[in-house]
Symmetry: C2
Subunit: 184 residues, 2 copies
DNA sequence: TTAGGCATGTAACCCGTTACATGATTTG
DNA sequence: CAAATCATGTAACGGGTTACATGCCTAA
């Protein structure tokens, strides 16, 4: 009754082609950065487990133990089946937590200065996110017909953009309202 | 080097007045529902620990062990200090995960029908969220001057509204685009 | 009287990060 | 040759959910 989405993210990426644990982490950090994350401490043990269960296999010619070298994994048919099974399940709604909004809720405990610092940090962070998403969109637009899922990736990127635009607009407004309020 | 925001949420709520673990959970589920969550399995043990550390105390006249009855906790001065200390720290950025977007990324594995079901669920969920946020906003607008933090709560609610509006608009557009694409 | 909400609590278990350890390869 | 990056892996630890156990009180 647990999620363990990690294993399915790994299977999904390996379904696009064989790669190493390091590659998987890199792709998640870049392509998925707005809606997913994993750590090595999750990825490597999970690769091992998936291999033992027969959902993955080492590529032949690669060391399967001993020497510390690149280890490329390939998904098996069983692995593809497991992935397809997970895909067809309704997506779990993850709990969301925002320490930023929590602290805004108790803003009267803080100085005006401190609050506007927090809001400023929030704003800058989402400004950067927006920049990255816009760059990713341009790239993706030029190769939208290359793969079946590029059309979908574009839609995901655009959602990310709109959300970040909302964050930015809201933060800017809030800073203005705070100033107006201070010398009323 | 760990977060443990749970204990500070508890301290923050108890700083508004004494209450039970049950009350704390209810408030988080209702007022914080768009940006925070806790389970009883976190709250009760944490209340115990905080009491042992002297940041909380049982209200006199309440059973401090034995009979299973209402147990109201009150924050101590030390507890207030700990809370203020946490408040002044820059908010941690929590990792965010969306299984929904992950599955959209691999949408070509699914039938058109399945995808639009997922998008439809997403849309309905955020439609409900938007309704609730709008109702909370009306309530809050009528009592905005009652407490120092009501002004802030209003801003938080409005951010939630805008984000949910973006989700809804995006989902509607996506469903339209999917239909256009199907009979091209 | 019974269903539902109030109310507290624990144990098992998994999730996930962090810190640490190790070493190869590439590039300035 | 040194630094950065590639690359794999484990152990410890805390975070957090879920399932379970218990029992009171109140309204239909």
């Amino acid at each position: 009754m647990r999620k363990n989405a990690t294993r399915f993210v790994i299977l999904g990426l390996l379904a696009e082609g064989p790669m190493t644990g390091y590659d998987i982490k890199k792709i998640i950090d870049i392509r998925f950065r707005y809606f997913w994350s994993e750590s090595y401490g999750q990825i490597y043990p999970e690769l091992k487990k998936l291999t033992k269960e027969g959902l993955l296999e080492h590529l032949p010619g690669e060391p399967d133990d001993g020497a510390r070298q690149k280890k490329r994994y390939k998904i098996t048919d069983e692995g593809k089946g497991a992935f397809a099974g997970w895909m067809s399940l309704p997506p779990e709604v993850e709990r969301q937590r925002s320490e930023f909004l929590l602290k805004l809720y108790w803003a009267p405990w803080l100085s005006q200065r401190k609050i506007s610092d927090f809001v400023g940090d929030f704003s800058r962070r989402h400004g950067k996110d927006l920049d990255i998403l816009q760059r990713m969109e341009s790239e993706m637009e030029s190769i939208v017909d290359d793969h079946a899922n590029h059309w979908w990736i574009l839609r995901i990127l655009r959602l990310g953009q709109r959300v970040n635009e909302v964050y930015l607009g809201w933060a800017k407004e809030l800073l203005t309202e705070m100033e107006e309020r201070e010398h009323d």
